[in-house]
Structures are given as structure tokens and as C-alpha cells.
Amino acid sequence: MAYTFGTEEWENAYGDLVKKRLAESKKPYIMGTPEWVATYEKLIQEDENYKEVAKTWEGSVVIHILANPAKGLDDDIYMYMDLWHGNCRYVKLVPRATGESADFVLTGEMERWEAVMKRELDTTKAMMQGKIKLKGSLPKIVRYVKASLRLTELSAQIDTRFHADMDEEERADYTSWFNALRTTFGF
């Protein structure tokens, strides 16, 4: 059955999905999957360094990965981070409309995010060069450069399987089950 985003049913079903995938999926997790997102959430929630540098931060941040059907990603992914005063309330996959409405939206091709998470690409430099786009108030986010850097560092700590590294069979399998999840959850 399909769930409507924002309802209690959606939240419960998404929670169950995450638990199931964390229990059943093999590591490394594929970037942008529910189990990868949940791992990221946990890392942020448990990170004292992040809590300190983001203690006055208020607002939502979205990592927006652009679709790349050739690499198995048929539609965009929006990873929504609800961040408040050093706490990470949650990180989850959300529908496009919700993702676009976040206070800050960081948009980039899959390859760019892969480079960021491998620490091969500096996020600030990437934004200046147009490799990653930032939508949101610059004066606000500039004050939290340490928090932004920490979020990037934490993403790099996740043992990640990148789309570019998948062979055809693995990619086809991923596309199939991930698209099924999209249909069910609307993200």
C-alpha cells in the first residue's frame, strides 16, 4: 500500500522500513538509501563536536541528489535534516515538495556528492564553482561553517557503497527495489 507523507501511518511505516533495512541490508550501505540515511542520522545525533558548533543553529537542511538513470537513480533524492540547537531531530527521505521547502537546499549531481563524501571535494569550493548549488540565506549559513564542515565529515564516516561502483546486475536490483519504495512512500 502507498502511504501519505506527513501522516502517522507514513511515519510508522517509514520507521519500520528503516529498522528492517538496517537489520537485513549488507554493509556498505548504498548512498541515499533509508539505511544509509538512518546511519547518518545516528552519527549526527551522537556527535558531541556537532552539538557544540551547531548549538545555536535553527533550521532544516536538505541534501538533494539529482537523478542519474544511467547510474540507477531514476529520480531525485531529498535527504531532509531537521536540525535545532545542536540536536538532530531526524534525517529522512522526503518527497520533492517537502525537500524543496527546506530552509537550505544543497543540490548536486550524484558524482559531486560522492566526491564530497570521499573528501575529494571541498563543499565550500564546490558551491563557489557551481558544482553544488546552495539555496537559502547566505548570511545565516556562513556563521555556521564549522557545523557544515562537521556534517560533511560525518557523512564521510559512513561506510558507503556508491552508485558508480555498482555493476549492472546490482544496479538493476537497486533501481527496482528503490523505485518500489518511492511508490510506497512518495519520496
Binding site: 565550500t124 563557489m128 557551481g130 548549488k133 546552495l134 539555496k135 547566505l138 548570511p139 556562513v142 564549522k146
Partner: protein, 387 residues
């Protein structure tokens, strides 16, 4: 001078540059080359009163669609939105900005709103746009801003009393017409302060974290030209050779910092501009040597290059000593061209420094300063020294 193996950068400089005395006469043909037919002139009252807007209007001929002349120093969101609405009403398909940095930046903001709709505030961020914006031809009437060739527009958020940066490759102007006759009547004090803006762009491009060799080349030669020609422009405004060289230096410095970025000098100058209306070039001019000394330990080798470009004999000096010599040479230069060296002489109240320091931490430019700055106290220390 050397770079590490991890050097990587994008150099982007798409602006067509047209230089020469009376080159403004060719504007009509340049509009045609853009495939446009109705040009809205964007300017301010001062430029209009000086007769410079009329020269451009004449050159536009049948392509002239109207004039928006409400730009002011540090234009705000409301003026950009109002100007864009006026341009749409006039059926304009190209903007021709005639003026200094505020006028050019206002037109950059208008170009976005005309193409994308809504309000300028909807496009806050970095590289938010995904397609070319309304074509834009620039005729600078000062020689300092460099905005005719950059990807940045600085627009004031009057509600928050903060200058906001809009950074996007798609707002780099299509054409810059550098006509020395358009700057010939600029008064000495404005010539001096806007000229120092150009020097600050060049110096900051050299010390910024995103520095790279192509921008270095532009910036270092801009410094050589500014040191030679800016005093002449101040002393004898009708020296069109010097005016032209200073214009070129300002554009080259603009191209340099548009690629290598800027740093703490600009962050601090934006803040005192927003809070106390200190003209941007003047704020930069006062703060530049103080910030260089603040950064010295981090990038003395870069400042030694600047010292050389300024014509100083640095043989036998350490890089630190050469960097200090460069800062002192900048003080000497500003004295010679009649600019103040202290913020108190520019109308900044001592009790306002704390607020300015805090505000500077919100400025995107500070991200690229060679010495990482995350605490307001560090900025305040520099403000106090410059006060």
C-alpha cells in the same frame, strides 16, 4: 608563488570587454549583437546629472526603452524588485547599467527577477540559477568595483540591515564597455576610494583561499597598474591615458577576485557599509593594511609578491618583512591620494564596532580569508586597530 599538486580550480571569465576612448558609441551595435532590441538604462541620479546617461541613451538610439535611475549607494531588495517591474513594464529585453558598483549590482539583481519572476529574495544562495538571465551590458563610471566582470551582486537587505551576496555564474554581465571618457569627471576623492577598491580586490584575490595562477596574473598586473596610475588619476582627472589604465586594472582585479574570491577586508567593509554607510571603497581602503597584518603569518609569501608588484625593493627581507612593507606601502599610497587611514575619520562610531564585528561573521567573503576566522572577537580586534 608555487602551488601544491592538489591545485584545482575553474577560471570563468565570459564577459566581452570593449575598451577605448568613446567606445560607448558602439553600445547600440553591441546590443544588436546580443540579439536584443529594447534596452532599459539603469543608473543613478548623479550619473544622470553628469550627462553620462544621456550619452548612453544617444548611443542606444531606437533601442532605448526607458531609464530606471533610482539606484542609490547600497541598493536594497526593494529597489531591485521595483526596477525589474519597471523594466518588464517597458518591455525591455536587455539591461544597460551605467554607474558604479551599486548600479551594476542593482541591474544584476533586476536581470534575475526579470527572467525568473518573483522577488530577488527568492534567489538567495550560491549558484542557484540554472539558465542564462536577462542580458546585461555594463558601462562603468568608476574604476574600482570590477562588478562588470564578476559573478557577485551585493544587495542590501534593509530589514535586516545586512548586505547580502548573490553569487552566480549566470549574472556575470555579457559585455563591459570601458570608456575612459566616462570616468574623466569623477571627483578626486571618489577616484581615490573607488580606485582603492580595485587594489583591495587584487590583494584579496592573491591571499584568498581559492587563489590560483591565472587570477594571480590578473591581480598582480592590476596592482602594478594601480600603483602607477591611480595617483595620476586623482591628481589629474582628465588624464585619459591614466583613467583608461586604471579602468583596465579595476576590471582585471574584478576578474581575479571573481575567480579567486575575496576575504576578510570585504566582509568587514560590507558590515560598516551596511551599518554606518561607509562607502565600500573607502572601507576597503582603510581596512586593507590592517587585515594584511592580521593575516601575515598565514600568507607572508603572498604579500611578498604584492610588495614586488608594488615596486618595493624586498631584497634581503624575509617574507614577513616584505609583507609588512607591502602594508606600509598601502598606507603611503592612501596618504598620497588623500584618503583617511582610520575608521573614526570615516564616521564609524567606536560603540558600533562590536555590532560590525558580529555582522562580519555572516558575510560570505570571510569564508575565503587565508586565516580562518570564526569568532567575532578576532574581527573586533582588527576593527579596533583600524579605528
Amino acid at each position: 608563488m608555487s602551488y601544491d599538486r592538489d591545485l584545482s580550480f575553474i577560471f570563468n571569465s565570459p564577459t566581452k570587454i570593449i575598451f577605448g576612448e568613446n567606445s560607448v558609441k558602439d553600445i547600440g551595435l553591441e546590443i544588436d549583437s546580443l540579439g536584443c532590441t529594447k534596452a532599459l538604462l539603469v543608473t543613478d541620479k548623479g550619473v544622470t546629472e553628469a550627462g553620462l546617461a544621456e550619452r548612453v541613451k544617444q548611443a542606444l538610439g531606437r533601442r532605448y526603452a526607458g531609464t530606471y535611475d533610482k539606484c542609490i549607494q547600497d541598493s536594497g531588495f526593494h529597489l531591485v524588485n521595483e526596477g525589474a517591474a519597471f523594466a518588464i513594464e517597458q518591455g525591455a529585453d536587455v539591461l544597460v547599467s551605467v554607474g558604479g558598483g551599486s548600479v551594476i549590482d542593482t541591474a544584476k539583481g533586476m536581470a534575475i527577477v526579470m527572467k525568473e519572476g518573483g522577488q530577488l529574495q527568492d534567489y538567495s544562495g550560491i549558484q542557484v540559477l540554472s539558465r542564462p538571465q536577462t542580458p546585461h551590458l555594463v558601462v562603468p563610471t568608476t574604476a574600482g568595483t570590477g562588478s562588470e566582470a564578476t559573478w557577485v551582486a551585493v544587495i542590501k537587505d534593509c530589514d535586516q540591515n545586512v548586505k547580502e551576496l548573490f553569487c552566480d555564474y549566470f549574472i556575470i554581465p555579457n559585455i563591459a564597455v570601458l570608456d575612459p571618457t566616462m570616468t574623466a569627471d569623477l571627483p578626486p576623492h571618489l577616484t581615490a576610494s573607488t580606485g582603492m577598491d580595485a587594489l583591495t580586490h587584487a590583494v584579496e584575490a592573491i591571499h584568498a583561499l581559492q587563489r590560483e595562477p591565472i587570477a594571480d596574473a590578473m591581480a598582480l598586473h592590476a596592482i602594478r597598474m594601480i600603483v602607477q596610475y591611480l595617483p595620476r588619476c586623482v591628481e589629474q582627472g582628465n588624464d585619459l591615458v591614466s583613467r583608461g589604465q586604471q579602468q583596465l586594472a579595476a576590471t582585471m582585479a574584478g576578474i581575479a577576485f571573481g575567480n579567486a574570491q575575496i576575504g576578510m577586508v570585504h566582509a568587514m567593509a560590507h558590515s560598516i557599509g551596511a551599518l554606518f554607510k561607509v562607502p565600500h571603497g573607502l572601507g576597503n581602503s582603510i581596512l586593507l593594511p590592517y587585515v594584511m597584518l592580521f593575516n601575515l603569518e598565514e600568507c607572508a609569501d603572498r604579500y611578498a609578491l604584492i610588495a614586488q608588484a608594488m615596486g618595493l625593493d624586498i631584497r634581503g627581507l624575509t617574507e614577513i618583512e616584505a609583507g609588512k612593507a607591502a602594508a606600509e606601502a598601502i598606507w603611503e599610497l592612501t596618504k598620497n591620494i588623500g584618503l583617511p587611514q582610520k575608521l573614526r575619520e570615516a564616521g564609524v562610531p567606536a560603540e558600533g564596532l562590536t555590532e560590525a564585528a558580529d555582522l562580519s561573521l555572516s558575510d560570505g567573503a570571510i569564508l575565503y580569508n587565508p586565516r580562518m576566522v570564526t569568532e567575532a572577537e578576532e574581527v573586533l580586534q582588527v576593527y579596533r586597530e583600524a579605528w
